[in-house]
Symmetry: C2
């Protein structure tokens, strides 16, 4: 099962030429989830050759412009390209009002169903579940109501060994049961134990998106042990005062959260436009958490 | 006096990689006027090295997204960069509501005064005047209320001949009068006729912006004789049916308006994303109006 993350934007509030503001694309088993949608995201999707009509769920962390000003344009482009499939949108209540007003003003009646799901940042909430994945939101600490999200793959069925399938003529219905962990009894009454028939599936992966937040250990229980953690790091540690004032985080703070949450890998992003060279931010974060990587526009993390 | 136009976007509704949707930057005597502001305009301004904090007036023709979705982002960037100067915004009434809602939602109180001027598309209206230029709006024919704009330079003062200035010791106060067309009488009572003292100033220039419109001869009186006319040409003539249905224009229609309005030069733009190669559109328009040019992102027209 594919589980990969494409960074569409790594800048903080001000877009600059080689860094768009926040948007992440998560692919889980060929399904595309968009996290935040800054101005210019639709062009980033084109630039990185993503079939963006396949996005069916968009999650907006909060209503600062660098996280959603590109959403209305993307919704409009879906419409103009003749989209018919449902699109699910998860975000704060006012997001619906803003979009509805802009659609009304341009007399646009979308050709596809846009289904709005209000997120609330009061507690850990299940916001989406399907056969492959669960998505929970949780509160971040920022100047407007802001949600983080964690995507967890569900445990996959056990894989039947190929040589066994070739040797035993197992009926289709039994295969389904074996994949779920049952033993198999053949027509002669021979019992085959499940562990002889199957191999372990790959372990389920998880990705957590902490878009804009001050340092807060309150999020650790929600993201604990996640395979890939994105945590904003707007500033170097020397600007920790600015970070606190603006309810953002530093490299060291992001890395400390990753360490305490026992994440496997950390991606830092949402870089202040003041930093042309990002290597010092990476080096600083790695002093605390060596498995840190930079969010850079267009980069893909495969888990 | 500089009078130049930079094309920031030439695509119709759907942005593509080498063509952003509509935005034009007009420079008149070092003052920058922005016409429309599609998603991505702020990045185009950066890309083309324009000191965009110097924009003091923004004109929005109508509330289709490909003409204004980038406005809120630009306003926000002005704010984040610490702008203090007034910004004047001209557009339909609902534009204010949309911007106010987005600012309110993000709890943003702009650091600079944003002064909103409502445009109405019922008739030819003076919307701005200063010592160098007048700006009028006029109704276009589109599916939502849409304004065209015409910028007209004011007649400049007469220029005093350099050799005369060197020869005669004309008092400062008299120079002001001569520039306005007066004759000059020196201390010996000698009268110098104005036409001997001065040369004609450059003729005042005009630029007309017809963003989205079906073919309508009703606009001709407003744009008659203008030096540079931008008229949308979304389609080739073979798609005239589509153009009529969508209240857009073809190459031939744009060129016909230029011809009938006795414009000096025509720029066509707002090209449908279906056209990769724009040369056929140019060739077609030139069969009617030879002085036609393509709007291409980044191109500058100096008048």
């Amino acid at each position: 099962m594919t589980f990969s993350l494409t960074i569409l934007g790594s800048s903080s509030a001000i877009p600059i030429l080689n860094r768009n503001p926040s948007a992440h694309l998560l692919t889980v088993n060929e399904r595309l989830f968009l996290l935040d949608c800054a101005e210019g995201t639709q062009l980033q999707l084109r630039k990185f050759h993503i079939h963006f009509q396949r996005i069916n769920r968009i999650f907006v962390s909060h209503l600062h412009g660098d996280h959603y000003f590109g959403l209305i344009g993307l919704l409009n482009t879906f419409h103009l390209l003749g989209r018919k499939e449902e699109l699910h949108l998860y975000g704060p209540p006012m997001l619906k009002e803003i979009i509805d007003l802009q659609l009304l003003t341009s007399m646009t009646v979308l050709k596809y169903p846009l289904l709005f799901h209000i997120t609330s940042n009061d507690k850990y909430n299940l916001v989406h579940e399907d056969e492959h994945v669960t998505v929970h939101s949780f509160p971040l600490l920022h100047s407007v109501p802001t949600c983080g999200f964690i995507f967890r793959e569900k445990k996959q069925e056990r894989k039947i060994r190929k040589d066994i399938l070739e040797k035993l003529n197992i009926p289709f219905e039994e295969i389904r049961k074996i994949k779920k962990g049952d033993d198999y009894t053949d027509e002669h009454g021979r019992v085959f134990r499940n562990e002889k028939l199957t191999i372990d599936p790959p372990s389920p992966q998880s990705y957590s998106y902490c878009s804009d937040t001050a340092y807060t250990e309150s999020i650790i229980p929600f993201i604990s042990g996640c395979d890939l953690l994105y945590h904003e790091a707007t500033f170097m540690q020397e600007m920790v005062g600015n970070a606190h004032d603006k309810l953002h985080s530093t490299t060291v703070e992001a890395a400390t959260i990753a360490l305490k949450a026992k994440a496997k890998k950390l991606i830092i992003g949402h870089f202040s436009a003041r930093y042309e060279d990002l290597q010092p931010l990476l080096t600083e974060a790695r002093t605390i958490f060596p498995e840190t990587y930079l969010a850079e526009d267009g980069i893909v993390f495969k888990i």
